[in-house]
């Protein structure tokens, strides 16, 4: 599942819930791009940004914030400043997701519907919740 969260301040984030981590090779394979080309580098950069530079929420919560917030919903609500509905949606995926990612400062086209559809495909239809 991808939850797109946008605020009037311009803050735009994507929350990605995956039942299992996707490898770089799978991600690039889903993109159907030729190795070492512009498109390959673009998608490789996207993968690194999502899976190597973004915040993995379950790890962040368990490592640093469980004692402070006690439950994941409160962490989403107070730490990530999500609305009740958004926090409930993300918290509801905690047990069934291997990976919960907060993806910020994404490529500009991912802020729009076609971009989100592209990202869903790259994360593989069978892999998404």
């Amino acid at each position: 599942m991808i939850l797109s969260v946008e605020r009037t301040s311009g803050d735009h984030r994507l929350y990605l819930a995956l039942p299992r981590p996707i490898t770089r090779d799978e991600f690039l394979s889903n993109a159907k791009v030729k190795p070492e080309t512009y498109a390959w580098r673009m998608i490789d950069g996207m993968y690194r940004h999502i899976f190597e530079s973004s915040l993995e929420l379950k790890r962040d919560f368990e490592t640093y914030y469980r004692l402070e917030y006690l439950d994941f919903f409160k962490y989403c609500r107070r730490r990530l400043r999500l609305t009740d509905a958004e926090a409930q949606q993300i918290a509801g995926l905690y047990d069934t997701s291997a990976v919960l990612i907060e993806y910020k400062r994404m490529y500009y086209f991912l802020r729009h519907e076609n971009g989100l559809r592209l990202l869903e495909t790259l994360l593989s239809e069978g892999n998404m919740k």
Binding site: K32, H112, L118
Partner: protein, 137 residues
Amino acid sequence: MKIRPGFVSNSSSTSFLVIAKEEFNADSLRRLMGVDDTSPLAGMFDQLYSELVEGVDVELDLSKVSLKKDVKDLSMLYGKTLSAHMLERLNAQRGQKVKAFFGYLSSDNSPVESFFCTDSFEEENDQIYINGLENAW
């Protein structure tokens, strides 16, 4: 009075140059950029092709550009300023049977054009050269 919450930023634009031996079309652009016909990125690169075509200000048949005339003069003639690197490329292919297109992309338009406008790229294969490295005007 209108109030706009959030950040206010300037728009960007960038120059581009395409030099093509054969016809420059969506298929040839996809091949150059490494996108398979069945790729989920195909639509995005087809849109880039449309935005490039839309953004073309000058089209040159380099086989008809005088060998005595410096390409820099031509770009001035058209009122455009290409980067030194772009002018070098044009000069190097002067007199050859290739076509050159140059213009600009803007961040004010579609999300796809905005992305490529703010990215830097220079790609080449045996048919096409494309340069979107910098804003040269």
